[in-house]
Symmetry: C2
Subunit: 425 residues, 2 copies
Amino acid sequence: MRNYVIKGNICYSRTSKELCIAENGYVVCKDGKSAGVYESLPRIYEALPCYNYENKLVIPGLVDLHVHAPQYPFRGLGMDLELIDWLNTHTFVEEARYADLDYAEKAYDIFTEDLRNSATTRACIFGTIHADATLLLMEKLEDAGLTAYVGKVNMDRNSPEYLCEKSAESSAEDTQKWILDSRRFRHVMPILTPRFTPSCTDELFEKLSGLQKRYRLPVQSHLSENLGEIAWVRELCPGTQFYGESYDRYGLFGSSCPAIMAHCVHSGEAEMELMRKRQVFVAHCPESNANLSSGAAPVKTYLERGIKTGLGTDIAAGSSLSVFRAMAMAIQCSKLRWRLHDQSVSPLTVEEVFYLATKGGGEFFGKAGSFEEGYEFDAVVMDDSAIRHPGKLSVRERLERLIYLADDRHIAAKFISGRVIFRER
Amino acid sequence: MRNYVIKGNICYSRTSKELCIAENGYVVCKDGKSAGVYESLPRIYEALPCYNYENKLVIPGLVDLHVHAPQYPFRGLGMDLELIDWLNTHTFVEEARYADLDYAEKAYDIFTEDLRNSATTRACIFGTIHADATLLLMEKLEDAGLTAYVGKVNMDRNSPEYLCEKSAESSAEDTQKWILDSRRFRHVMPILTPRFTPSCTDELFEKLSGLQKRYRLPVQSHLSENLGEIAWVRELCPGTQFYGESYDRYGLFGSSCPAIMAHCVHSGEAEMELMRKRQVFVAHCPESNANLSSGAAPVKTYLERGIKTGLGTDIAAGSSLSVFRAMAMAIQCSKLRWRLHDQSVSPLTVEEVFYLATKGGGEFFGKAGSFEEGYEFDAVVMDDSAIRHPGKLSVRERLERLIYLADDRHIAAKFISGRVIFRER
């Protein structure tokens, strides 16, 4: 049943400056897409079934542009290190466990169930180098009704022996087989996922470039997260002017495919300009950038320059799977960046982070993340009655408050492309 | 019944560097105080009733050194301003509502119930200028079994007419009456609460100094939170070398009474030195300092110099009443401070923030915030089973994870000075 009406306080972004609210309004789902938001229901839709969420908030599903599913077990742990040491000490050890499908089964069950119960409707997810475990993850996400891009990770250098693919060739072969195997899913799609430049040889990048062209896949990776990492890439890639070029020279930086680059904390002018030109998506991961002492990205600058930007939770460098928490942290980190570092870049507003978490990131999936007509019908119904208040708040205030205070208890219902994920908790 | 044993994984701080864990251990409550932590239960305690929280974590109750109860309704709202504008635009308007006891009744019910359900066992709380509403708050806290210092706020200048006491004299009179009225409470105690230097005349400070000496009360206020505020104090108090002197010259800065100063984001060398000498407690409020773009306090420096320090949630400049979230934010903000501003002050560790949230802040209440022998028996039992993991974690890891991920769903039981606040949810 993909034609229905939802009644409630409808909130959505048109731009990063414009938050639209229809109090006691209606949003119509037709064939899995939004047929628009209405103050009063047009007669042609009166015959449709109506889910009445009067007094609750109805927002577009949130989009997580960067999350590592296999790292979910160690979220909130071991964050006393910077990126490269953190990878070697904690991350690679955990990811190696996914060679064992029994472990993957248990771990991905937990991840999928928690993601299903969250306000996230769409996500771009890293798996591990293991094709079988990654397919298992994709199957679980598909069964849960979620929409996602999922990547089998590629890494054939500078990685511990237990988590290093034998050669560029075997990495590419495994990847090709995985791409073909993943054709059976409807809502979960493959995305090329070279971990990051330090862990991929030129030969591997070349082969991935070939696969990209052949299967027309999007790409996700990491960019300019940490100063040590950036210096290392400079060493590894003589002839490049900046980190982004290490992807761009293989067509993996938006020139021949949509690309998401996580972090972009320390991107310089030239890198930003190429990101803009190539329409590369920045996955801004504020909690991760704080936890690993990476810094704080100049997100306002990205928005002002028209660089496509969304939010990522970046489990497990970020501890929380909640995109609400990522929104709050995005504001908070932008304020600390302004105060402590650079007063030329102003802090983010509520309107801007709500846009980033919905329409900003949603654009990677096409028309998603808003209730404007023609957008995928991804909706989350928020019941904030447990966040009690002695008086009365406006819908705008209730939405703002949820950014700071929401957790999965407040999510009353969830819909993706019109599919009902759940309607009661 | 104040003599019993709790069995579980007992975690507590001895110092800011030393986290003690007794796995499957025992902590004994005798007459409301800890009789020590044991790996196996000494025979003399075998006859005591035992609450078996096997497999759960048992930690000292958390201490919130700075929270504004009347601001609880607007937590998570209106944080696009810096301190002084935020006070004038949002805070004073809300606080004025507490002239109405019906509103205060509703609002303080919500605050008290949420505080009771949190992991906080002791708190230092700001009320408003209204003595009646403040007594109402104290009564509710007392009825809930919580231990707290609560202050009727003093402000007789630079405040909007609707929230400004008529004169220093009437402010002091109201305060004296309130002090006497509050004698009826057992666990909730009065604390002198001049809002901050800009809102108190010299005459008012003098009178409060008199009340302090007469009733031997501790003091709480704000210090060096925001650069504009500091410049204003410099103007208002010619002859002072730094903000802290504006309290010190009236004996309200630790010389004749224990004092808590919230924030201390921008304290200079001389102020720090006086804080150390006077044993002033810093209430570090990281989320507030991010939300109001105040900055990030050099907490590691405070610890290294032996300045007494604890954590505050600072509702409503902080959005969350959870001291766990304050712990996570304290680490995160210290990392951003290190990365963006000053690499001479290293980030906080898990051990340090756990200490700050328990024994560090607890010291303001005497021997509180630890399970060492003789400490007040404040305990919180954490059930982290809902934060699922595919493998097995150590107790240390489970505690670390809770700092980032705990909410009130994970609190299974709570005890204060041996009193049972709740034992089931």
